[in-house]
Symmetry: C2
C-alpha cells in the first residue's frame, strides 16, 4: 500500500478526499497501486489510521468538516503530536492542500526522512531558495496544482528541461480574477464597478486586494522561475498592484467604497494601450536572461495572450525547440475540483514511482 497523509481539509482538501475514494479501486486495478490515507490533518489535529483510515472514518471526517467542525471534535482525534510524527516507517506521500506558511521546513524534513511530497500549497515553494531546492531535489516534490490548478504547466516545464530544452521565455496569464476584470474593462465596464461585481459574484477573494495586489500571481511566477532553474530569493518577484498604496491599510468595506481612487490609473493605461493599437493584460513574463515581471503590459493583438478572454489561464512556453511558435496551454486555472484533480494526478504519478 502507498500511505498518504493529507494536510488540509478545506474546499480543495475535501474534493481531493472525495476524488481519491472514487478512483482508488480503479487505480488499484489499472496500476496495481493501493492508495490509502493513513492520516487526515487539519489546523487543530489529526485522525490517524492503524495502519490506514477506513472509508467510514474518512466519511466521518468529511461530514464533520462540511458542518464546519475541526478534526479535534472527533473521537480518536490526535491533538498532541505534529503530523511529522504520524509518518510511517515506509515511504509515504505527504499532501499539502492548505494555504499555511509554516510547512516548508517540516515538509523538507519529511523528504530527508525518505518521504515524498505533493503540493497545492504554494507557500512552501516560496520560502528561501535553499528550502525550494531541498523540497524539489531528485523530484521528491510534485506541485502541478500550484500553477494553473489542473492545467499541465509544471510537468510540461520539467519535461522540457529534463529533455535538454532551454526556456527562452514564459509568458502567462495566471489569474482568472484579473483576466475576468480585464475582459470587463474591454467591454466598457469601469474598473471600480468591475471589481465590485467580481466581489459580489465571489470571483475575488473575500478581500479583493488579495487578487488586485498580484501577490498570488507573484508566488506562481516565483515557482515557475525557480523551476526554470533561476536561483531567486523569496522577494525577487514584485507584482504591480492595481490599487494605490493609500488604499492598502483600510477595511474591505472602505476599500470597496473608495475603489474609484484606483480607477483612473487603470483606465488610463487601458486607453493608452488602445490608442497604441494594443491590448492590456495582467501578465507574468519570465526569461532566464531578463528576470521576472508581473504586472499590466501592453501586448500586440496577435500575441497569444491577447486572444484571451474571461477567466481562463494561459501559459506560453518559448524554448530553443519551440522557438518560432510557442507551446501554449489554456483553460480554467482555478476551482476546487480541477485543483484537487491536479493534486490527485501528482499523487498517482508519485505512487507509480514508489
Amino acid at each position: 500500500m502507498t500511505p498518504i497523509i493529507q494536510l488540509g481539509l478545506g474546499g480543495v482538501g475535501r474534493a481531493l478526499v472525495r476524488q481519491m475514494l472514487a478512483v482508488a479501486p480503479t487505480i488499484r486495478r489499472r496500476y496495481g497501486i493501493d492508495l490509502r490515507y493513513t492520516a487526515l490533518v487539519d489546523s487543530r489535529g489529526a485522525l490517524a489510521g492503524d495502519p490506514a483510515l477506513t472509508d467510514d472514518q474518512i466519511q466521518t471526517v468529511l461530514t464533520a468538516k462540511a458542518a464546519g467542525h475541526h478534526i479535534d471534535s472527533l473521537a480518536h482525534a490526535i491533538t498532541d503530536r505534529h503530523w511529522l510524527e504520524l509518518l510511517p516507517a515506509t515511504m509515504a506521500i505527504v499532501v499539502d492542500v492548505t494555504a499555511a506558511g509554516s510547512h516548508a521546513a517540516p515538509l523538507a524534513a519529511a523528504i530527508s526522512a525518505g518521504h515524498r511530497v505533493v503540493l497545492a500549497n504554494k507557500r512552501p515553494l516560496c520560502e528561501s531558495y535553499e528550502l525550494f531546492a531541498a523540497l524539489t531535489e531528485r523530484g521528491a516534490t510534485r506541485y502541478e496544482a500550484t500553477v494553473g490548478a489542473g492545467l499541465p504547466v509544471i510537468g510540461v516545464l520539467q519535461s522540457l528541461i529534463d529533455s535538454g530544452d532551454e526556456v527562452r521565455a514564459i509568458e502567462a496569464a495566471l489569474s482568472g480574477t484579473l483576466g475576468f476584470l480585464m475582459s470587463e474593462l474591454e467591454r466598457g465596464v469601469g474598473f471600480a464597478d468591475a471589481v465590485r461585481t467580481a466581489h459580489q459574484l465571489g470571483y475575488t477573494e473575500p478581500d479583493p486586494r488579495d487578487d488586485l495586489s498580484g501577490a498570488d500571481v507573484a508566488r506562481k511566477a516565483l515557482i515557475l522561475a525557480r523551476t526554470c532553474g533561476m536561483h531567486l530569493p523569496p522577494d525577487a518577484v514584485i507584482a504591480e498592484p492595481l490599487f494605490p498604496a493609500t488604499l492598502k491599510e483600510i477595511s474591505v468595506t472602505e476599500f470597496l467604497q473608495r475603489l474609484e481612487e484606483a480607477e483612473h490609473e487603470v483606465m488610463n493605461r487601458l486607453q493608452v494601450a488602445s490608442a497604441n493599437g494594443k491590448v492590456l493584460r495582467y501578465i507574468t513574463r519570465i526569461s532566464p536572461d531578463n528576470g521576472v515581471e508581473v504586472g499590466l503590459r501592453e501586448l500586440p493583438t496577435d500575441h497569444p495572450l491577447a486572444s484571451l478572454r474571461g477567466p481562463d489561464n494561459m501559459i506560453s512556453f518559448t524554448t530553443n525547440r519551440y522557438a518560432d511558435r510557442p507551446l501554449v496551454v489554456r483553460g480554467p486555472g482555478a476551482g476546487v475540483e480541477v485543483t484537487a484533480a491536479g493534486v490527485l494526478s501528482d499523487i498517482i504519478a508519485t505512487a507509480r514511482e514508489l
Copy 2:
C-alpha cells in the same frame, strides 16, 4: 542502470540518441537514474553493448546512419537475432521510433516478459484492440509522441481519466500539413497550388496523398479514442480524403499534375462555410457517445479550433470538470527535435518508475 533498446535510427531516432547523450549526466544527477543504451537497432541489424554501448560505439552508429549506411555495415553488428533476444534479464525500456507495422506483437511480448515500452511509432497502437490493451495494460507503454509530437496530449488525457474525470469531447487539429493548407486557402490560394507549394517546401510527405488522405490523422484519432476507453477495432476511424478516388492509384508526378481535379470540391466546401459565416478546418472529433470523426468541418468563428492559423496542432478537451471552458493545448505538433523530446520525456518518466 536503466537499459534501453532503441528501434529505429531515422531522423527522430538519431535526434533522440543525441538528446539522450546530452542529458544523461544531468538526469543521473537530478534523479539518480542511469539511462544506458544496451542496443541500437535498425531495419538490418543491431549493435549491442556488454552490458551497455559506449559513447564511442553510439557515435559510430550516428555517423554511419548519417552517411546513409545500415547497422549491418558496422563491426560487431548482430544480424542473426531478433531484438527481443537482446533484452536483458533485468527490466528494460524498449523504444520504438520506427514507422514499422510489424512491432505490436513483439512489443507486447516484451511487456509480458516484464519490460516497458515507449513509442513514437503509432502503428503498434492501431492494430487489434486486444493488442492495444496488452501494450497499455498497467501503464506499461508510454506513447506521448504519437499524438502532437512533444505537446502534452496523451499524458494530459490519462491524468484526466485517472483522476476520475470523464471526457465528453476531444476536438483537435492534428495535422500541421493540413493546417498549413487550410490557412493558405483562407489567404485566397487555390487548393492545387497550395498543395504543390507545400510539396515543394517539404511540408508534405514525399507522396502528398499520405497527408491528404487523412490516414495519419485517423491513426492519431484512434489512439486518442482508445486512450479514452473506447474499445474500437482498427478500421473504426475513417478519415475523409481531400482528393477523389480517381487520383488514388496514379503516380506522384501525375497526381501533382492532376490536382485541379481535387480543387473544386474543397474550394466549394470553403465557399459554403464562408457563406454560412463559418470557417473550414480539418479536424478530429471524438466523443464516447458519438464516436470518432476525421474530416473537413465547418466551425463557428468563436470555436477554439477556428483561431488556429498555420501548421500548429491544437487539442481541446471538454470533460465533466472542464465543461464550460475546455482545457486546450496548442503548438507545433511535428518535427524531429520536439518528437524526440517527447519520447525522451516518456523514457525518463518510465525510468523513474523502475
